[in-house]
């Protein structure tokens, strides 16, 4: 099975735009009439449903943020009566109130559809046995995968999270071919598997669909080696739907967005303007088909970029690249937006592992300066002064061109950069001190 729904996954970009435009019009009409909060926001912005004729008109609409959800807690942004809601999920906010979302029966079905497409993209088929180790409950992970796999006709094992010994027994005895959980739990499972005396021969995993937390390419490599599978990145957030808003195919070159359901924009988090394709910015989603809890231009605070070229897998849907952090991490240096993850990926390109680094931003006179301190690692180190100097130079010129800034690079000894609770501090912004 190559695609779950070839029609929507492989339609031409033009057709997709027409479809999205039609769905956007309907959506705007619906929220204007059914969600007082949205009507007020639109009136304030001086825009009416009639002003929205195509996807390009989306820029006329105001953004939605987490604050809107706090203001309308718990159900104020639902667009249907409660008797049409068949499911409620909630995410515990790290700051402030939890976010409550509601789904109609059709929303649940669309979600399962997106998940089925994602699982097929990851190599699953009707014959697959899908081990779901995401938590079941208010969190969208477990039930999100569950409904999609069930819709496909897979044999679903709803293990949920926790009880690792039992998870390992299931991996060994039932031999599922698809594992769904967070990437860090996948690594933990692998370690526990080996610790219990098992080897790769005892399990039969072909693909893992991992998400709900950020993870690096390095981690991907490690999981793939340890579990002998293809590690597929899946993206989603409960405000928009849950997992399967986008998901990688086996090419692993970006996550295909289910664009008939979700309209993506990438904006400059400072100005709110669209950035050119391929440039990093904040991911903004509009839920084109959602009935229960539709959102217009929801600012996710996630940083990524998109590629709308056709993927080698044949799908035409736009792909969003692995998340590069959160808008909260963004630095503005001489008017340029800088994300720590950009520095990390430059370093990763140059060595086998990304070393620890520290970004020091300062202001000398009216001039912002950026220095990047990079810890020397085994894979970077050589006995030759010339080699190290050229390494320093290569890091600098790569950073200069990626960031568009004049960066000072300094190689420092390992462990000189402070770490708190195992996590390194990445940025010191002296301008604020």
């Amino acid at each position: 099975m190559r695609y779950w729904n070839e029609h929507f996954e492989c339609m031409s970009r033009d057709e997709m735009k027409v479809l999205q435009s039609r769905r956007l019009q309907k959506l705007v009409d619906r929220v204007y009439n059914r969600v007082p909060h949205y009507r007020a926001k639109m009136m304030e912005a001086g825009v009416e449903p009639g002003d929205i004729k195509s996807v390009e008109d989306i820029v006329k609409l105001p953004f939605t943020t987490k604050q809107d959800m706090r203001d309308t807690y718990p159900f104020g942004m639902f667009a249907v009566d409660m008797d049409e809601i068949t499911r409620i999920h909630a995410s515990s906010g790290t700051t402030g109130k939890q976010t409550v979302v509601g789904y109609t029966a059709r929303d649940i079905d669309n979600w399962a559809e997106c998940m089925a497409r994602s699982l097929v993209g990851a190599g699953a088929s009707r014959k697959s046995m899908v081990h779901v180790a995401y938590g079941y409950g208010l969190f969208t992970g477990g039930l999100g995968v569950h409904y999609g796999a069930e819709k496909m006709g897979c044999a679903v094992i709803p293990v949920s999270s926790g009880n690792t010994a039992r998870q390992i027994t299931i991996l060994k005895d039932f031999k599922p071919d698809i594992l769904c959980c967070t990437p860090s739990y996948a690594l933990y499972l692998a370690e526990e598997l080996y610790a219990s005396g098992c080897s790769l021969d005892d399990i039969n995993l072909k693909a893992g669909v991992f998400g709900a937390e950020p993870w690096s390419e390095e981690m991907r490599k490690e999981i793939e080696e340890k579990l002998g599978l293809k590690a597929i990145d899946i993206y989603g957030l409960s405000e928009i739907m849950g997992p399967a808003v986008s998901c990688e195919c086996l090419e692993q070159k970006g996550m295909h967005i289910q664009e008939d359901h979700f309209l993506i924009e990438i904006i400059d988090p400072e100005t709110g303007e669209h950035v050119p394709e391929g440039e990093l910015g904040e991911v903004v989603f509009t839920t084109l088909t959602k009935e229960g809890f539709p959102l217009i231009r929801y600012r996710t605070r996630d940083i990524s970029c998109i590629d709308t070229s056709q993927c080698a897998c044949g799908r035409t849907t736009a792909r969003m690249m692995k998340l590069c952090g959160r808008t909260d991490d963004m630095l503005i240096i001489r008017g340029v937006n800088v994300f720590p993850s950009q520095i990390e990926s430059v370093l990763l390109e140059l060595g086998e592992t990304a070393p620890h680094y520290l970004i020091i931003v300062d202001r000398v006179g009216n001039h912002d300066t950026i220095e990047v301190q990079v810890e020397m690692t085994e894979s970077f180190f050589s006995d030759s002064v010339k080699y190290i100097e050229s390494l320093e130079h290569r890091i600098k010129s790569k950073l200069d061109s990626v960031l568009g800034l004049n960066v000072r690079v300094r190689l420092v000894e390992p462990k000189t950069l402070a770490r708190s609770e195992g996590k390194a501090k990445r940025v010191i912004d002296k301008r604020k001190m």
Binding site: V385, I388, V412
Partner: protein
């Protein structure tokens, strides 16, 4: 083949060298030769020790970035012109010397010189063919 030399990455900060020698001393590693190549920002400390494996292990445990490279150690007469003669043998054959450092005092009437070249085997054979004494690694570690 050749002698195993320990290289350590150091920032140019006061006290770093003595920190390294303290770690080695605490673990009973004897340093028989030492040199530093440095730039404005960093330096590479190069060491010949009696137990390179142990030195590597304890330095890594103490958070240093360490690499091991192979070098040649030769013994030459401790008099003017002896070093020039030895180096000539190599330059005549287009063998590039990446770096060189000397240490004295442990072998009677001989100066010991560490050479870093690309092709150690070739250089060793060449030097020996001209009667220049190339030390075996075990000989160096027991200095």
């Amino acid at each position: 083949m050749g002698v195993r030399q320990i290289s350590v990455f150091l920032e140019n900060k006061a006290g770093r060298l003595s920190d390294v020698t303290k770690v080695l001393g605490d673990n009973n590693v004897d340093i028989s030769a030492l040199s530093i190549a440095d730039t404005a920002h960093f330096g590479i400390l190069r060491l010949i020790v009696n137990n390179p494996d142990l030195a590597e292990k304890v330095l890594k445990e103490n958070g240093y970035t360490v690499s091991i490279s192979n070098v040649i150690a030769i013994a030459i007469d401790d008099n003017p012109g002896a070093l020039a003669k030895a180096l000539e043998v190599l330059t005549d054959e287009d063998i590039t010397i990446e770096y060189i450092y000397a240490f004295t005092g442990k072998t009677e009437n001989k100066a010991l010189v560490v050479l870093k070249v690309e092709d150690i085997d070739k250089a060793t054979a060449l030097l020996r063919s001209r009667n220049i004494r190339v030390l075996d690694d075990s000989e160096v570690y027991s200095l």
